[in-house]
């Protein structure tokens, strides 16, 4: 396909970028790593007059630890952090290993070298690995808009539908914060693709904490089955309040969670098969996360 012509802007400060976004409004798009926007342009699915390339804004690339008001350790990554940086950063691997593992499994090396966390969240593909992981990880998305107005949105409230979220046209993701996952926790990401490096048909993330041989906390999210990635609170609750907390019946609980999902036909797979995939990946993922957390005795 042939790209429609557009004007290219390369601001070097956040203020400059926000000014461009507010000047051009809906006729502008932010270019970060280009792994979603460029294909959309090339497929003529998006036609836009102004491209605001933010990769020359240094403040947007950073990885660091900080404490939240309650003194808990938080990982903050700048919006321009590349998947390959998440994958390799010792800080990320130690503080939020699920994030590092998720990043390592995205697409191919070339995609990971270019793609950014801010770009992936802003694109809001309901089956994207990072969108799904951000929900299980209770991520917070920190944004800034024209005039320097800042706000923080929880990942669970950020996504509104396929390729849509609560960002306004003149708003930019600045960074994303993740609570560090402490000792005694285990994680798992399981996905099903039709080809290595493809977007997942279904992706599941699980994060479990085991204390004294008992499941103390669990977060489960699933992508690819609805308009946004979903957190499966009912299943989490069922696992925590199982009749015998030492031996929750993971298969039954995740099976029930899968059967209660609203799944529509996908051009690539039928709805019943997708449900089967969801059930399989949920069971495998939850079992792996609990196992990695030390297992329930």
């Amino acid at each position: 396909m042939i790209l429609s012509p557009f004007e290219y802007h390369a601001p070097t400060t956040i203020d400059e970028a926000l000014r461009l976004l507010s000047d051009y409004g809906d006729d502008s798009r932010i270019l970060a790593g280009g792994q979603s926007l460029i294909p959309l342009l090339k497929l003529n699915l998006v036609e836009v007059g102004h491209i605001v390339d933010i990769k020359h804004i240094p403040e947007l690339s950073s990885i660091g630890l900080e404490a939240d008001p309650e003194g808990r350790e938080m990982l903050r990554v700048g919006a321009l952090t590349r998947h390959s940086d998440l994958e390799r950063s010792e800080i990320v691997r130690k503080a939020v290993p699920l994030l590092a593992e998720t990043a390592a499994g995205i697409g191919h090396q070339m995609v990971r070298n270019r793609g950014t966390i801010g770009g992936s969240l802003a694109h809001s593909d309901p089956s994207a690995d990072l969108c799904t992981a951000s929900i299980a990880l209770d991520a917070a998305i920190n944004t800034v808009s024209a005039g320097g107005k800042k706000r923080t949105v929880k990942a669970g409230e950020f996504f509104e539908g396929p390729l849509s979220n609560c960002l306004s046209a003149d708003e930019l993701i600045e960074s994303v914060t993740f609570p560090s996952t402490g000792p005694g926790s285990g994680h798992s990401i399981k996905k099903f693709t039709l080809g290595t490096g493809d977007f997942p048909i279904v992706v599941v993330c699980a994060l479990a904490t085991v204390r004294d041989g008992r499941l103390a906390a669990i977060a489960i999210s699933i992508g690819g089955v609805g308009g946004t990635p979903l957190r499966l609170k009912d299943a989490e609750q069922a696992l925590l309040s199982a009749a015998s907390p030492e031996t929750p019946d993971i298969g039954t609980i995740t099976g029930k969670a899968a059967s209660s999902l609203v799944i529509e036909d996908d051009p690539r797979v039928s709805a019943p098969y997708k449900r089967k995939l969801a059930a399989t990946l949920l069971r495998r993922s939850v079992a792996e996360a609990i196992g990695k957390a030390g297992g329930i005795s």
């Binding site: 012509p5 099903f192 039709l194 080809g195 290595t196 493809d198 690539r268 399989t280």
Partner: protein, 723 residues
């Protein structure tokens, strides 16, 4: 020979060419699947900035003869037969303007009922794709008395098999640049056959072939969909004539999927009969193939072909038909009729072996074709060695699953064999020694990705005695290159290679004569090795020294056309072994190990031959596991015309593939290789899945969903030990 220039971007493919004042063209395509164009409003296009010319079916009535096998196909048609049928083209100063212009053309149609499947095309009163009906019958083929042979069978297996429509998916999309100088036309084409392309263009445009020059210096693959003249070559030529400027036609990837043909799908009923000890006595094949709205003009051979050549059965009967539908065209793709046939026949053989309780490898060793095929003697046959050497390298016994099922995954091994034509035919070459001591090979060949340039250089090097570093290959231009039939049918090494060998051998003789004149030693006592003229093992002088004495280039030309003696047949053979791992819940299949043993006669260059095997096996894996051109049941259009949705296997899904060559001593030299590498793959993988899971898959591709459904069905049957 050309790896560096290809890898560094120096190689100039058709789309890389630029000419002063050149225009870009886009095709205008039908939006209805079956009907007639009543009116075309060009004003939107003519009013688009940058648009220079708009041509439609009402302006130009050129027939594209290579576009359809049985009927006349118009280049720009008013009688549209699928969504995507070409009704016109726009030429503009920029690509974007051509694109916008083509989108701005408005056509009004008289719409007819349409048919998108074999069933609906065969139904009584079905919508007609062509006025003379929807079925294209081919010859029935076979030998022996099938009914009598089935009467003698104690085990008869029957099955229905389907292969999906797949696409050539070569990396280089279609591109063609044409310009006129007076009445002389030059076309820089992305063709597999410069002479076929030239002759086709000349015929379609009604001009002498001598007035057409076709240049193709580099080719990014074709796998059969760029032989002969293509419509985009003609469109470029016609627009160039109309505008008086060079015109480049380029296809996008989605144009490729819709507007250039892929492989026809097949639906086959097979019946196989054996005696109690497992000897195959009779095989019968009945096939229907969905050939789309057009099937490219090809030699009138069958749509499903090959199974009759693998086994020594007493009787064989084959019958096939192509069925026209209002869907994109089909045509040549690497062994056009082979993989469909092999998938069905090699699956039913596996089913028979299982029914008889015979190991599939032993079953094939027992039944494979040996000395004679039908009534014809084979020139050479290394099939048994392929089976034995392949099984040994693969570890057949250890990798076969004897019945173990793990909770999440299970593994299994499968085998399939194949044969493919290995024809002989016309080849031409000129090989010369230049005054600076280099060997120049001139042929009409185009390197479509097989490494033919290297192969020709290797042949010239071996037969002249010159080091390969001293050999240059010049080709790819109808002006200056000797004739070639074109790079299709796995025949380049056999056809042109034979001529290169003859010319090189003759040239060596001429060089020795010259050396004899200088040294005074009889030519018979001289030899050339590594660029030096030797006498009794001692270097007398360098070939360069001989070259220096030349007044002009020393040229030897050869035109060869070896023929097979009557009553003989020449086939290449293969035995492929696959090991798979199957996820018993998701149905995902991973190929763990692959061994491909081939009898293609003496191998000229093992590096390029091995690459051919790797490429063919990967292409076969695509057919087996992921590839399927999805056709809309609403309007017959292509639903997945991009590499995002049409899934080719990628490198991470590709296992270790081991190629083994049985260098049989065929009296006519190298046999075919390129096509057969793909033929047995789907069957080998399907048979391995059966061994792993007990699920018999009779329909390609083996998508995870289909495999999972099979496993679920198996569970509900709860047949113990069903494998």
């Amino acid at each position: 020979m050309d790896a560096l220039e290809r890898a560094t971007g120096v190689a100039r493919y058709a789309a890389d060419w630029k000419k002063k004042d050149m225009l870009y063209a886009r095709i205008i395509t039908s939006t209805v699947p079956n009907g007639r164009v009543v009116e075309i409003d060009k004003s939107g296009a003519s009013g688009t900035e940058g648009v220079v010319d708009v041509v439609t079916c009402f302006d130009d009535r050129t027939i594209w003869h290579a576009g359809e096998r049985e009927h006349e196909r118009r280049l720009f048609t008013d009688r549209v037969r699928f969504v995507g049928d070409c009704i016109g083209a726009v030429a503009a100063r920029t690509r974007m303007a051509a694109q916008k212009g083509s989108e701005a053309v408005r056509a009004r149609y008289e719409e007819y009922q349409a048919t998108f499947t074999i069933e609906s095309s065969l139904r009584e009163g079905a919508p007609k794709v062509w006025d003379d009906g929807n079925v294209l019958k081919t010859r029935n083929y076979g030998y022996g008395d099938v009914e009598e042979a089935f009467g003698a069978c104690s085990v008869i297996v029957e099955g229905e098999y389907e292969t999906a429509r797949v696409h050539n998916s070569q990396l280089e999309p279609a591109a063609s640049l044409a310009w006129w100088e007076g009445d002389r036309l030059t076309v820089v084409a992305a063709t597999q056959s410069i002479f076929g392309c030239r002759n086709g263009i000349a015929r379609d445009l009604g001009i002498p072939a001598d007035n057409v020059r076709v240049i193709t210096k580099y080719k990014g693959g074709g796998f059969g969909n760029k032989a002969d003249s293509m419509n985009y070559d003609l469109i470029a030529a016609i627009l160039a004539r109309r505008t008086g400027r060079p015109v480049m036609v380029e296809y996008s990837r989605s144009d490729e999927f819709t507007s250039v043909h892929g492989r026809w799908s097949s639906r086959q009923k097979l019946r196989l009969g054996c005696d109690q000890s497992g000897n195959v006595l009779a095989l019968e094949v009945n096939a229907m193939c969905d050939i789309g709205a057009y099937t490219r003009r090809i030699k009138p051979f069958n749509f499903v072909d090959g199974a009759q050549s693998y086994y020594s059965c007493r009787a064989f009967r084959g019958e096939d038909a192509g069925v026209y539908t209002n869907t994109p065209a089909t045509g040549h793709m690497r062994a056009p009729s082979g993989p469909q046939s092999c998938f069905a026949s090699e699956t039913i053989m596996d089913e028979a072996a299982f029914r008889l309780g015979i190991d599939p490898l032993q079953f094939r060793l027992r039944n494979m074709v040996r000395v004679a095929h039908n009534s014809e003697t084979l020139t050479s046959n290394g099939l048994e060695e392929c089976l034995r050497a392949g099984a040994e390298a693969f570890g057949w016994k250890e990798r076969r699953n004897a019945g173990a099922v793990a909770a999440e995954t299970s593994t299994g091994a499968g085998v399939a064999i194949a044969a493919w034509h290995s024809r002989l035919g016309r080849g031409e070459a000129a090989v010369s020694l230049t005054r600076d001591g280099r060997i120049v090979v001139r042929t009409g060949v185009v390197d479509i990705g097989t490494g033919a340039k290297t192969t020709m250089a290797v042949i010239a090097s071996r037969n002249t005695g010159m080091p390969i570093e001293s050999v240059d290959v010049e080709w790819g231009d109808t002006e200056g290159s000797p004739y070639s039939v074109g790079e299709s049918g796995s025949r380049t090494t056999a056809f042109t290679g034979t001529a290169v060998k003859a010319a090189s051998t003759a040239l060596r003789g001429r060089i020795l004569e010259k050396a004899s004149g200088i040294s005074g030693i009889a030519p018979g006592s001289l030899e050339i090795r590594n660029g030096a003229v030797l006498n009794a093992g001692r270097k007398l002088l360098a070939v360069e020294d001989v070259a220096e004495t030349l007044e002009s280039e020393l040229v030897e030309k050869a035109a060869t056309e070896p023929a097979l003696p009557k009553g003989t047949e020449r086939l290449s053979f293969a035995a492929h072994f696959a090991e798979v791992e199957v996820d018993s819940e998701t149905g995902a299949v991973r190929v763990l190990k692959y061994v491909a043993a081939h009898d293609s006669g003496p191998i000229v260059n093992s590096l390029t031959a091995t690459s051919q095997v790797h490429g063919g096996v990967i292409m076969g894996m695509g057919m087996a596991l992921t590839e399927q051109l999805l056709i809309s049941d609403y309007d017959g259009s292509v639903l997945n015309g991009s590499f995002m949705l049409y899934r080719l296997p990628n490198i991470k899904q590709t296992p270790d593939i081991q190629a083994i060559f049985i260098n049989t001593d065929d009296p006519f030299g190298p046999k075919s290789l390129g096509e057969i590498t793909l033929v047995p793959v789907a069957a080998a993988i399907g048979n391995a899945i059966f061994n792993a899971t007990g699920v018999r898959l009779r329909r390609t591709p083996f998508t995870p969903e289909r495999v999972a459904a099979g496993i679920e069905g198996k569970r509900s049957e709860s047949l113990p030990g069903a494998r």
